[in-house]
């Protein structure tokens, strides 16, 4: 196998804490991402799944070099991203592009669509305005809009159309990697699938790799070859999407899967029952991410003492993925088997009872 396109190696991202009420007080730092390693092959799609505050967007911003990790390295092709100084090379900007969640805020309201799409063309290919306009028109047609939309302002479009414009701008530089930060979560269901289909078609046409950041595991499964599940600053499971979605090895992945409502009431009945068994803590991730324990321990139905003492080492799963969970190496010693194996006899799995309250 050839060298992966994107190499994220042991990246930790820390936001310095703000000032306290007193001038000399300093709030503790926030560890948004801890020791994350990921790879994406050229032309491949990796789904990064997690809830709000999990650090998935922060990691995406580090890949875009909007912020610099505290430690670890990010390499993309020949670029040493973490080694860049203040000025990011234009060549890198050409190689990596982004589509954001918010279709309203992601396009400059004071520029017409033509100017928005032409900007990267002029910067990276030095096109004159006529050529750039011609190419922008082609790109618009490629994303399912029309040439005459070039002279309109973003607010004249619907959410789905704006996302198409954002995609057209991102593709203008012919990037190798597209960071898609929740590209469809602000859209209506019927529009969501339009945009997903478009992204997939474009990937076939351009061969760009995608880093798809999303909270909806079902959407991600449909789009991605591989999935990384993040919880509260850590990656907890990584693997092929069908395996992750059918044979999850981490209790959090299983909870996520059980939480996706299904339109088939019979299926939903099973799911919601399972969800209730799994949901222990009442709240989502909150507070600061712990540095030396499993962040999911507070909510985990199978929590053991060791979970509060250290963050687990990676364990290969039976399906060829990786999981970071103590259940596989101590207690029930799952050894990479799906965590649902525990479902039948939960009591045997519980070395220590879950905490009384979160």
């Amino acid at each position: 196998m050839s060298e992966p396109l994107l190499h994220i190696d042991d990246v930790t991202i820390v936001f310095p804490g703000g000032r306290g009420a007193l001038p000399w007080q300093k709030l503790p730092d926030v560890r948004a991402v801890q020791h994350v390693s990921l790879q994406i092959d050229a032309g491949d799609t990796l789904g990064l799944v997690g809830e709000s505050g999990s650090g998935k967007t922060t990691l995406g911003r580090a890949v875009l070099r909007f912020l610099r990790p505290e430690s670890g390295s990010i390499r993309l092709g020949d670029f040493d991203v973490t080694g860049f100084g203040r000025q990011v090379p234009t060549e890198y900007r050409k190689t990596v592009q982004v589509v954001f969640q918010d279709p309203v805020g992601s396009l400059n309201p004071s520029m017409v669509v033509g100017a928005i799409i032409a900007e990267p063309l002029r910067i990276h290919f030095g096109m004159d305005s006529g050529t750039a306009r011609e190419r922008a028109g082609e790109l618009l047609e490629q994303v399912g809009l029309q040439r005459h939309h070039l002279d309109r302002y973003p607010h004249e479009f619907s959410g789905g159309q704006r996302q198409r414009i954002a995609v057209a701008r991102a593709l203008a530089t012919e990037p190798d990697l597209l960071v898609l930060d929740e590209p469809v979560s602000a859209l209506d269901v019927s529009t969501q699938s339009q945009v997903i289909n478009l992204l997939e078609r474009l990937q076939r046409e351009t061969g760009a790799a995608y880093l798809l950041i999303a909270h909806d595991l079902a959407v991600v499964r449909h789009t991605c070859h591989r999935i990384a599940v993040m919880y509260h600053s850590r990656i907890v499971e990584l693997g092929d999407s069908d395996d992750i979605c059918e044979r999850p090895a981490h209790p959090y992945t299983e909870l996520l899967l059980a939480s996706i409502p299904d339109p088939d009431p019979a299926v939903q009945h099973v799911k919601s029952q399972r969800r209730r068994e799994l949901a222990q803590g009442v709240a989502g991730a909150s507070g600061r991410a712990p540095t030396d324990s499993c962040p999911f321990a507070e909510r985990c139905p199978h929590v053991m003492d060791v979970c509060r003492e250290s963050f687990p080492e990676p364990v290969p799963t039976a399906t060829g993925g990786t999981v970071w969970c103590h259940l596989h190496t101590s207690g029930p010693m799952l050894g990479g088997q799906p965590v649902s194996e525990l479902a039948a006899g939960t009591s045997t799995a519980q070395v220590s009872p879950p905490a009384a309250d979160g």
Binding site: G20, A21, L22, P23
Partner: protein, 314 residues
């Protein structure tokens, strides 16, 4: 709350220091020799030099600054170059006059302005709103010294209802004091009331569209309670911010009103200081006004914390 107070007071100290520094060096830009201003045009070089030495302005600037700062820290702002009075003594007589004018107008403006602003918001788009909106945009444009002149002339001189100028002797009773304050306060407070009314209206309109107002209505509360309990307190936050700016503006405006009504306050003192290049007086004047603004802002910070639990330190 106490910690918030302490932190704000501590932050104010370097601020005041920087203000003093900035103003001290700004005022030195002028090439005019103060000694010449004091002694008149026909003074000979020797007596000018003598005067300069007496005032201490023949020394290097930094030394002058350091000296002034050292005494200012212990509350000594120097002596007036022209009449030899202690600056602190002069200010002490004038501060109460100006402050009673400024805070008198502010309190009245807050009362009138918020009441009309809230009324306008509740009747948005109907005639009370339109009337108040027009009145407030006119009120914002009235020059306070001009309306002061007009009031002094008609109410003071023609109608003889209220004193047109500040009494030459210090008012001996509270009633006399208030009587003398009314016209200056009106002249000073018009634009502040208008500004507060506008702010109160727009922030109230904003708050009335918030989700929590809808929640309060959905609970079945009467409109009066929704407005008085749920809307006004949140709408007050930007009004408080504005009141801070207005205090500063009122202190500035008082200079002109004092001029019109011949009020022996800080303003006249400051204007004289500028016209005559009276450095110690000018510095004292600036420091006192800055101190008032800083203190008002500390009070406002505390009231923010009361209005908005989010900014309370845990």
């Amino acid at each position: 709350m106490l910690r918030l107070l302490v932190s704000r007071v501590l932050a104010a100290i370097p601020l005041m220091l920087m203000v003093a520094t900035l103003v001290f060096f700004l005022a030195q830009l002028n090439p005019v020799d103060p000694a010449a201003t004091i002694m008149g045009d026909d003074a000979d070089l020797e007596s000018l030099a003598e005067k300069r030495a007496e005032l201490g302005i023949d020394r290097p600037l930094v030394v002058q600054y350091w000296d002034w700062l050292n005494s200012a820290v212990v509350g000594d702002l120097g002596t007036n170059w022209f009449n030899g009075e202690e600056i602190t003594t002069e200010l002490r007589d004038r501060i109460p006059v100006t402050l009673s004018m400024v805070f008198g107008s502010l309190i009245v403006a807050l009362g009138i302005g918020s009441a009309f602003g809230v009324l306008a918001a509740l009747k948005a788009g109907r005639w009370p709103d339109r009337t108040i909106t027009v009145a407030s945009s006119l009120g914002l444009a009235v020059p306070n010294f001009w309306i002061g002149l007009v009031l002094a002339y008609y109410v003071g001189v023609k109608l003889q209802w209220l004193p047109a100028i500040w009494p030459t002797t210090r008012p001996d009773s509270l009633a006399r004091w208030i009587e003398a304050l009314i016209l200056p306060c009106v002249a000073l407070g018009i634009s502040a009331s208008a500004a507060i009314a506008r702010q109160a209206r727009s922030s109230m309109i904003g708050v009335l569209q918030r989700d929590y107002v809808r929640t309060a209505l959905a609970k079945g509360l009467p409109v009066r309670r929704v407005v008085s309990r749920h809307a006004i307190r949140n709408a007050a936050i930007p009004v408080v911010t504005l009141a801070g700016f207005q205090t500063s503006a009122l202190i500035g405006g008082s200079i002109f009103v004092e001029f019109v009504f011949n009020v022996p306050g800080l303003g006249r003192f400051g204007v004289d200081a500028i016209l005559r290049q009276n450095m110690p007086a000018l510095l004292g004047f600036v420091m006192v006004t800055a101190a008032v603004v800083v203190v008002v802002n500390i009070v406002l910070d505390l009231s923010y914390a009361w209005l908005n639990p989010k900014v309370r330190p845990e």
